[in-house]
Symmetry: C2
Subunit: 122 residues, 2 copies
Amino acid sequence: MAEEKPAVTEEKPAAKEKPAVTEEKPAAKEKPAAENVVFIGIKPVMNYVLAVITQFNMGSGDVILKARGKAISRTVDVAEITRNRFLQGLIVKNILIGTEEVQGERGATNVSTIEIVLGRGK
Amino acid sequence: MAEEKPAVTEEKPAAKEKPAVTEEKPAAKEKPAAENVVFIGIKPVMNYVLAVITQFNMGSGDVILKARGKAISRTVDVAEITRNRFLQGLIVKNILIGTEEVQGERGATNVSTIEIVLGRGK
């Protein structure tokens, strides 16, 4: 059952998917995504809702939704649908917003980020 | 100076813009938007950033950004641009997410909402 995690769970930067034998970058900067992080991208909302439910069913106490740019709206949808329709005990434990610099075609641009921490209520 | 508030500040539901002589709906449900609330819609981000700056310059201690649906991403942009580029002392005091039911063409649908409270740091 634990192997049946849906493939939508994580949209990591490609660099993290290399085997960890070469360490060209300083390792301290970006550690691998934790098990309980769901990166929200451009897929349908329900894919991510399923990923969050799966994380909780695998025993995670908290699940962190992360997104940037236009996916931020979808991230709020995922949190709301999950806790209103599927896991009623969930609470929003914390919400953080921030800014990241990304390298685009015309140089560096800033993009907004969000992190929503969902957890089981008392 | 206080009259020069930009016209982008509030995108209220049309019902609130009627003169308050007829009270067909129960008034308790939706009270008029407070002075320090900026509703984020589909206009360019900088319009809203200017509205937020204006609110603070008029003496507001806190300014609340509100949005729903796809405008949620833009709301985070407004908060981040305002505090990173224009008013460095600002802090994010609180972020709330929720769900509202809206009447669409095909009946009621749910839409996600966000409220970001910006305030001056200590």
